[in-house]
Subunit: 178 residues, 2 copies
Amino acid sequence: MGYFEEKISGKNVFRGRVFSVDLDTVRLSDGEIRPREVVVHRGGVGIVPVTDEGEVLMVRQFRYPVGEELLEIPAGKLEEGENPEECARRELSEETGCTAGKWVDLGKMYPTPGYCGEVLHIFLATDLVYGKMHLDEGELLSVSRVPLETLCKMIADNSLPDAKSVFGILKARDILKD
Amino acid sequence: MGYFEEKISGKNVFRGRVFSVDLDTVRLSDGEIRPREVVVHRGGVGIVPVTDEGEVLMVRQFRYPVGEELLEIPAGKLEEGENPEECARRELSEETGCTAGKWVDLGKMYPTPGYCGEVLHIFLATDLVYGKMHLDEGELLSVSRVPLETLCKMIADNSLPDAKSVFGILKARDILKD
């Protein structure tokens, strides 16, 4: 136990709007020197908004990197200086038009800790009050209400591939059924 | 419904050992032109190996991008020309020394479909036969057997942040309890 990797040197090789890439050299706990390619990302949030009727507000959008339209929980990136809960309230409002009276922290999630530093903070949001959605520029998505039970069946049928959605929905189900 | 993004042009801006990065320009379904930063990754597998005693073989390793030692299901990247099930058998053997008599497909997972094309194929492996582990160079990890029930408690306590592990373990639990 007690593995560790210490940074010896590093350089930035790409700086983008969504993420940047660093090429670091590290020393492993056994003294060996290895290269590490790292996607640097500010992190974000995902929200499981559940209505009083037990439906989840889900967003559908085209995801260019995987070439598919996906059904996902509302989510978004942290803005500079924003904490996860502020970000979750903002993204829920932007993507669904809702505010929530009750928030439960469903924990942090590392999507790909092997090569990316991104942390997603996942929340359950209930006691929803409906308003008007206001999307970011270049964001095309539609919102639908899907019964939590239907989503759990989709997960069991392997037809909901988005990691944060499965993470959030199965955790929310376990909390809501208690 | 029916959102789509069509690639107009693109260029590679980084080519690494683990992933590369493309900067593409796309046309959205409403005609708008937008840039897309994409991490290109070959994809991989994750395996939930469950013993006859209801324990999961978990690996612990330091994950440099998030700066933490993590408890994860065994996993690894697809090699050139390898299909997901071959990769799962190889990675299970390399990381834990086991072979499995029974495999169940737990579906594909997109860790971060917003900016990365990686697909992880997740499997449940049972009827385990034990052998000797043989790790890749520069891979430092230890294997431990953790009761499935303990892992589910860790997930409920928000102390298991690795996305593929939560995805695989909660799906495996639902299958194994039936």
